[in-house]
Symmetry: C2
Subunit: 209 residues, 2 copies
C-alpha cells in the first residue's frame, strides 16, 4: 500500500475554500459527496471517484475499505457535524424561543455550508448499513430529543402554548430538511434566513392575535 504522501489527493481550487486540503480523507469524502449526491450511490463507481480526484483506486483503498464505507462515513460525519454545529449555537441560559430560533438557523446554516454531504446524509438514513447504523440512529435520536427538550421547556415555562411537543419537533425538522429539496446554495438568500422566517411563522402562527 502506498504511503499517504504518494497518494496525495490533489486539492483543486474552489471559491471560498482554502486552496489546499490537508486532510486527504476529508477531501475524498467531499468529492464523493458531490458525486453520490449528483448520480446516486449506485451511479458512482470507485473508478469514477478515483478519476474525479485524479488518484488511483489503490489510493482510495488506502483510506477506505469500500465504496460503502465512504458513503457511510459521509453520512456519519455530516450528522456529527450538524449535531456539533447546532449544539454550539445553543446556550442553556437563553429562553426557549431564542434557543429554538438558534437551533433552526444553525441547522440551516450547516446544511448550506455542507450541501452535498447533507443531501447524501438525508438519503443515507434509508440505506445505511451496520456497524454504523447504530451510531447514526443514536446521534439522530439524540438530536431530535434535544430539539424536543427546547420545545418542552418552553411549554413548561409558558414561553410556548401547550402544543404537542413531538408534532412541533417534527414540524420544525420537516421545514428545515425539506429545504434540501428546493434550496440551492449560491443564491441571494441565506438558508439560515429562510429558517428564521420559518421560525417566526411557527412562533406567531397563521391566526391573527
Amino acid at each position: 500500500m502506498a504511503a499517504p504522501e504518494e497518494t496525495a489527493v490533489p486539492a483543486r481550487r474552489r471559491r471560498g475554500r482554502p486552496p489546499f486540503v490537508e486532510n486527504h480523507r476529508e477531501r475524498i469524502l467531499e468529492r464523493a459527496a458531490v458525486l453520490f449526491g449528483t448520480h446516486g450511490f449506485q451511479g458512482v463507481g470507485i473508478a469514477a471517484l478515483a478519476d474525479d480526484l485524479g488518484v488511483s483506486k489503490a489510493a482510495l483503498f488506502h483510506y477506505f475499505e469500500s465504496k460503502k464505507e465512504i458513503y457511510d462515513s459521509i453520512v456519519l460525519e455530516a450528522l456529527r457535524g450538524l449535531e456539533r454545529s447546532v449544539y454550539d449555537s445553543l446556550s442553556d441560559e437563553d429562553d426557549p424561543e431564542t434557543q429554538l430560533l438558534a437551533f433552526m438557523r444553525a441547522h440551516a446554516q450547516f446544511f448550506e455550508d455542507n450541501y452535498w454531504k447533507f443531501l447524501v446524509m438525508l438519503v443515507g438514513f434509508g440505506g445505511i448499513s451496520p456497524p454504523l447504523v447504530d451510531e447514526v440512529m443514536e446521534i439522530r435520536n439524540a438530536y431530535e430529543q434535544r430539539l424536543r427538550a427546547i420545545i418542552r421547556a418552553g411549554v413548561k415555562d409558558g414561553s410556548f402554548a401547550k402544543v404537542d411537543v413531538d408534532t412541533a419537533g417534527r414540524a420544525v425538522l420537516s421545514m428545515l430538511n425539506w429545504m434540501a429539496r428546493w434550496y440551492k446554495p449560491g443564491g441571494p438568500r441565506r438558508a439560515a434566513d429562510v429558517a428564521a422566517e420559518y421560525g417566526d411563522l411557527l412562533l406567531r402562527g397563521l391566526s391573527p392575535k
Copy 2:
C-alpha cells in the same frame, strides 16, 4: 404484438383493494412504483418488472415504450391524482382556515393511499425528462399557486395574520411532503390526522396567545 387479452397482468390480492385490476396499464404502474420506490430507478430493470408482474417484457412494451416512460407516467399520474384529490376537497364557499386544513388533510390522505407512487413522484421531480417535464412543472406550479391563493385570501380578509404567503406555503408543503420520509402506511395513525395536527400548530403558532 400480442393483444391486450393475451398480455393480461395478473391481479394479485391486496388488502383493501379489488381482487381484479381491470386496467393493465394501471397495474403495471402500481407494481413499478413499488419496485422503483424500493430499489430506485436504476435498480430495477424491465426484466425484473416483467418478472414481478408475471408477464413478458413484450407485454410491458405493449403499454409503454421504455422504462423511463413507465417512471414518468407514475410521476405524472401521481401528481394529477394529488391535484384532483385535493381540489375536490376544497370549496370556495369555505373560509380560508377551513380550506387550508382541507388542503392539508387531502394531500396527506392521497399520500397515504398512493404511498409508492407518491414516493416515486417526489424523487422524480429531480429527474424527469422531456416531453413530460413541462406538464409536470405546470401542474406542480398550479398546485402551489392554489395553496398560496388560499393563504393570500386569508391574509386579505383578516382570517390569517399578515404572514409572508410564499414562506407559509412552503412551510405547509414541507411538513406534508417530509412525511414521505418518516410516515409508513399501515400504522395506527392516519396521515390526514397528522396533517390536521400540523395545520392546527401552524394556525395557532407556538407562542401563547
